[in-house]
Amino acid sequence: MVALMVLVSASPLQGQDRHPEDENVRERMSELRSEIDRLIPLVEEAKRARTDRGLQAEEIEREIAGALAAVDTFQVGLVTVITPEGQTDVARGIFEEVWGEHFTHIDRSPALQEARFVFQWSDVRFPIYVEEGRYKASIEYAEWYALEQIVGHVRSSIASVVHYDLTNPYTVDGNRQSLPVGNWAPNNAHYGWDWSETYRDVALTRSRASRSCIDGELDACKSALGLGIEPPQDRTPLWAPFVIAGRPWNPAISRAQLEEWYTPEERMMRVNDLAFVSRYIRTVWSECVMERVQESCDSLLETADAQVVPYSAQTRSSLVAHALDVGGVGAWGRLFEDPRHTPIEALEYATGESIDLLLAGWHDRVMAAQPPSYGALVPSGGLALLWVAFFATLAVRSTRWRLG
């Protein structure tokens, strides 16, 4: 405002103001003064806003500095946790709960020996960070978290570190990713498996092998899980052979294997589910799907990798989850101990059980997890009747007319 006043007083208009006969100049000055008066409140408001924002930023920075300045470190299982002082008890409670429920089967994990978890409580802004031994703070994603979210975050963070440790090619034991069973274990294999989802997946899988498996044929389960496929087919990247156009292809899955898994119709539909980028492959795909040439369908599937195994990766992982439960403490380490192990050998070694026994246990567990389709019918029906009774009471209580 002051600058504007100076500007106005120093302008040539000021000189002209000494000549009152110039009406136009006076009018112009009057307009400028009005304009300045209009701008004053806006300038004040902007100043206030800037001050407020600065105070907020300072407050946040103080919170972060305070939280990170005084920290405490403690150990839960194999996890080292760093937490702001004063939040140790809460952090310890959560980590002990999560570790005790889901991770006791992990024995010695080099990555976990290295891991640092920066934990902060909910009234400051950054609940958990896992960043390979370094602190991390950011004010851009300020958010409040409920306790169950924080517990879930701790669970998935530990699982992620464990999974990284045991499958990453650059960790202590070298090329772990080449372990055949590594493809079977997503990071949620470490905790709380939803067996009813596995049941649903098994029940809805379009495969004759799966149907036999549901009926209790364990050899069919073994087949539908893809346990019969030997490396290297089971670790081939998704449809990798298809990037090489033209015949001859490199068969990965045998025709006999395909016929064991699927009926001819199912094989055709399996191809129909897949998408291809190569023009040549698209031609064969079209022969299969549009012209219904069975040979084209089968030749496409023959070149496929584990993606054409009847059961999904999630369902196959459920066998690993079951094996970890059966194997108990140290099972995870044993599962990945020997890179020469086939999946069957790795599972047997980790659990100490034969594959048939393990499969029988897995089958029983899946079948027992059939979700109750109308499980909530009785309580919800009872509730509906109570509400009907409530409405009926309202109706009969009306005083619109009465004789008695």
């Binding site: 979700p371 389709s373 009747l385 009306s398």
Partner: protein, 228 residues
């Protein structure tokens, strides 16, 4: 008393019940049409994933139909009372409590007719397809849920219709005002109270209606005739 009211209600609603019964009977059959063959009959084998996928598109029609029929039965229960200024009811030597209760039971009895239609239709539909291993048909459970949903809407609208038009207008007005204020006022409140940034009042109210122990929980459960 009950029989008389049942007969009166039947006279009122019999023509409206015909399409309700047809729809209830036919809906399960429409759902499974084209999905496969009966057991032992040659044809395209059913695919479990396909059945579930295609049936899902029909599921919302069951609660919708149940609610519609419930409302029609409820409104028709009070139709002649309002039409003839309650002369018939007032001429009866009974209390209002007794009259309303008998009327309520008579309407609930009539609700069993479309529910029976659905129950039979669901059984026929279940028999008409050869379910693959792992899938099961739930005709009885579906019919029971259908009955509960229909009775709930019947009870609610029966209570509405038992009052005067003025009462109904008042209640509807209150609901409309609450909705309007809730929707527009929540954002305003959120500016002053951070709590309302995280909790939306109308959303919370809606959730409380459809979650237990809310009245509409029966509508949000599983309505699948065929499931795992």
């Amino acid at each position: 008393m009950y029989k008389s009211l049942l007969f009166l209600h039947w006279k009122q609603i019999k023509y409206a019940l015909i399409p309700a019964v047809i729809a209830s009977f036919g809906l399960p059959l429409l759902m499974v049409s084209g999905l496969g063959s009966p057991a032992g009959v040659r044809g395209t084998p059913l695919e479990a994933y396909q059945i579930i996928g295609e049936l899902n598109e029909w599921l919302y029609m069951f609660p919708t139909l149940a609610a519609s029929i419930g409302v029609v039965i409820a409104l028709s229960a009070w139709n002649w009372d309002h039409q003839y200024n309650h002369v018939y009811a007032l001429s009866l030597p009974v209390t209002r409590f007794e009259y309303v209760l008998n009327k309520l039971l008579a309407g609930a009895t009539l609700a069993l007719i479309p529910v029976s239609g659905l129950w039979i239709g669901a059984h026929v539909a279940s028999l008409a397809v050869d379910l693959p291993t792992g899938l099961n048909a739930y005709p009885n459970q579906l019919a029971v849920r259908y009955l509960f949903a229909m009775l709930l809407m019947y009870g609610m609208f029966f209570a509405f219709a038992s009052g005067t038009k003025a009462t109904t207008v008042k209640i509807m007005s209150v609901v409309a005002v609450v909705l309007f204020v809730g929707i527009t006022g929540n954002d305003l409140l959120a500016e002053y109270f951070p709590y309302f940034e995280r909790v939306h009042v109308i959303e919370a109210v809606m959730n409380s209606l459809v979650d237990a122990p809310g009245p509409f929980q029966v509508f949000t459960g599983n309505w699948a005739l065929i499931d795992v």
